[in-house]
Symmetry: C2
Subunit: 514 residues, 2 copies
């Protein structure tokens, strides 16, 4: 058994079932081990940002880590933007980066670079394995670290000689690091604070937004009237008919101000106090109302679900939350095709239990509105602001949930970053329908420009926001990657194309011309 | 004048004429300044790896830096792989990375990350500007640092408030940092060593491979019989008819051994002793023959050209090197279309003074062979091993040399990393002909696998090298980005298509089906 085989076997022992890979020479022993050690499904990606984004999508949906396989510093570099998003989503990922053989590093051959410096900003855990003998144990620690609450990117650097030298055996999974528990004094404290104010909110993040967490929050709301909030870019929310409704903090500062107005208390469950995404000249960053207290009920590493359940008990909440989102489909529009009507068509026609991978940028606002009372679905946000996440996240979500329809809603500018994901969709025959909102501009920048008071713009500046010269022809691009594609220019066309896509299980792309 | 205007004006003052940009919100004041401060041509790229690779191509051809404009940590991350290549090429680049406003950073909003940690591995100079008042001075220092011998990536981090706050004025260029001079004692020493051995070589890097440098080397060769060598992946070489012939160190270890066999002395001019690209089990990394001395005549920061001229003088070399590469075109093949016949067609038909952006991976070997005695041309290598460099480098080369034909020779796997460069070619109407060698596999990995003794491979492992399922249809992809494209499956088709491309000044892509 060589080190790579001990590593792959350890990943399998620890429940890692998928590896999103873009290997190079230094990872070929790992690649060879994929056959000699059964139990891992490798998914080839044409670009590392697809691999890391797919691992993010997989981890958010599966609730357990996939592995990546990246080629040295430059391979990691290409995957960093989506690892940044994964870090913001607190997604568990075992991020495996090959490196030169340990004895080769000193010669500074062309691919040599400081992998640790590149990996540190995105990694909650980071280790360079010393030899073949340590690789299995380090892999077990990496899996444990990725799964440690709230979840994170555990980067394991695998030198080539550690992969090819002889190893002893694989390692068994380590006991999970238990989540921090919130003390009963804190529960009582939160309950007392809720009792003293009339306008309060729970700001929920991570597991608190799903399953038992959101149910407990709903019960607290039922009893106390507290508002339930989530971050603008919550990693994963369960939305639509039958779910406990959570209000999403809006994007722009003045919207946040209005949204939070009057609140006297924000109880934070795994979350941080609301701040604006960007700063603007003469504008503050933190938007908690004056005289509003932020109370940390559970930190990110703590068991926010248990804390919510304890709080529900303490405030004598009913056993079930009754207030649920009603099913209220928007109906099929017949007017002009625009972002709103496109999203209404999608909301009307998307089946139960779909997963929406949302990198729609400006089309995100109509998307969330149209889907608010649609059939129940899972919504995955662009968590870290690094656009080019939606297509890869859709790949990973589809592999984690092969029986669910994946809808990838993407801005055209954002989709250009990681469009190689389309090839993996075709290769793996994933059940993903991709909608490109083709407005031929970086629309969000046009909006931000007005806010930034950057002055009147001339032709050079305006050309920096323009994607219309030439137009990206998404149908041709998708077909080039092997994905069936169509272009919709009217509501009727989109209705027909989207209906057909919802009935198929093949990957498909629709370019919605706005 | 705001900080961004002072920055742009300073760049113009310092001779920076082009900015390869993928801006976001925090860079919009810089974008606005592109109109209020004339003198910089902005080139929009759909992906940051295109912007940084284009800056590399520009710098290698123009010999002076372009600027980039990247959006925070994730934007820099996407550009790092090609900055790694640029670092290995010692290309001057002023790498401008926007960041949040200084007062916003503490709130850790979604896009916040440790930009310094990401930038350090690729940067020869790195500075976060403190305020609008310091931005101009920092920019002047960045340009000077980028140009400091041998050239490097100078990363300037521009906080958003430094861009929008009031500034005083632009800065003037700083005096260049003089190149280190090689002492006459070292020249005499090198001459003496050359006199004591019968088998010696000059290993040349950087400026030593161009103009006066290579001419002086040729004169030394004429007098002493010394071999002239360059690195396997020399950043820029002048090849073809009329040039002083330089032998390129081969790629694989046993080839290097044979190539260097018998050498008693290697005189290093800006270069390092030869090492292999990767390590292999049981194989050494450094390949200098036993008993062969490596003598550092000029370090990378020193004036290798002057050192070569002084050495030529000391050894009483003739005034001109007579040995020149003859013009010997390969002729047009008529047999099967393969990498060799495709490269022969290219070599036969490419006009004088073309620039070859080479990311051809396994097709690189026939490419170099076919072009060895072709018309004079400039060859740009993939210096750092981070594939996905050729298309962006071609963009930058075309902007630096608008009157020259650019030929981009690309492996299909490698081209998938940064294919968004095609859009910039279409947008800027660049005179680039792209050849995709479509062998539907990561061919180099098949070769490396045999060498690595990674054992027999099963279907999962083999699928990790396979690009044939589905095939990438490069004609459709290129057309999707607005570039005219054709597919060649026979020599006759390629001859017709390539001839036509050589006569046109429009961007074109030819998918050569191997």
């Amino acid at each position: 058994m060589n080190g790579a085989q001990s590593l792959v076997a350890t990943l399998v022992n620890c429940g890692v079932e998928v590896c999103f890979a873009n290997p190079g020479t230094s990872e070929l022993h790992f690649v060879a081990a994929l056959d000699s050690v059964p139990g891992i499904r490798p998914v080839l990606c044409l670009f590392e940002g697809v691999a890391t984004g797919a691992a993010d999508g997989y981890g958010r949906v599966a609730g357990r880590p996939a592995a990546t396989l990246l080629h040295l510093g430059p391979g990691l570099a290409n995957g960093l933007a989506n690892l940044h998003n994964a870090r913001r989503a607190a997604t568990p990922i075992v991020n495996i980066v090959g490196d030169h053989a340990t004895y080769h590093l000193r010669y500074d051959s062309p691919l040599t670079t400081d992998i640790v410096s590149l990996a540190r900003p995105v990694s909650s855990w980071l280790c360079t394995s010393k030899s073949a003998k340590t690789l299995a144990g380090d892999a077990a620690r990496a899996v444990r670290a990725a799964r440690e609450a709230p979840g994170g990117v555990a980067t394991l650097i695998m030198p080539a000689d550690a992969a090819w030298d002889s190893a002893d055996q694989s390692a068994q999974p380590l006991p999970e690091i238990p989540m921090g528990q919130v003390s009963s004094a804190s529960i009582d404290d939160a309950a007392a604070r809720l009792g003293r104010v009339t306008k309060a909110a729970l700001l929920l993040r991570g597991c608190a937004l799903h399953g038992a967490g959101i149910e407990a929050a709903g019960r607290i709301q039922e009893k106390t009237g507290v508002r339930l909030l989530c971050d603008t870019f919550a990693a994963r929310t369960e939305l639509g008919a039958g779910t406990v409704f959570v209000e999403r903090i809006p994007y722009f500062p003045e919207q946040i101000v209005e949204f939070l107005q009057g609140l006297q208390l924000i109880v934070l469950v795994g979350a941080q106090p609301p701040v604006s995404f960007f700063a603007y000249p003469g504008t503050a960053s933190r938007w908690v109302p004056e005289n509003c207290e932020c109370y940390y009920l559970a930190r990110a590493h703590q068991d926010g679900v248990a804390a919510l359940e304890a709080l529900a008990h303490t405030v004598h909440a009913p056993a079930h939350a009754k207030r649920r989102t009603p099913l209220q489909l928007p109906g099929l529009p017949s007017g002009a095709l625009n972002a709103m009507s496109a999203c209404q068509i999608m909301a009307e026609l998307t089946p139960d239990n779909a997963i929406i991978a949302d990198d729609a940028v400006t089309a995100r606002f109509p998307l969330l509105k149209a889907f608010a009372q649609a059939r129940p679905h899972t919504h995955l946000s662009l968590t870290g602001g690094a656009i080019g996440q939606g297509l890869p996240v859709a790949v990973g979500a589809a592999i984690a949930a092969p029986n669910r329809k994946i809808v990838c809603a993407h801005g055209d500018g954002a989709a250009a970053y990681t469009l190689q994901a389309l090839w993996s969709m075709a290769r793996e025959q994933l059940n993903v329908t991709t909608i490109i909102f083709a407005n031929r501009t970086y629309a969000i920048l046009n909006i931000e420009l007005q806010r930034l008071q950057a002055g009147s713009l001339g032709p050079k500046a305006l050309s920096m926001l323009d994607l219309g010269n030439p137009e990206l022809r998404w149908v041709e691009i998708a077909q080039g990657f092997g994905v069936h594609a169509q272009r919709a220019t009217t509501c009727a066309e989109l209705i027909e194309q989207y209906s057909s896509a919802m009935k198929s299980e093949q990957p498909k792309l629709i370019e919605v011309v706005l």
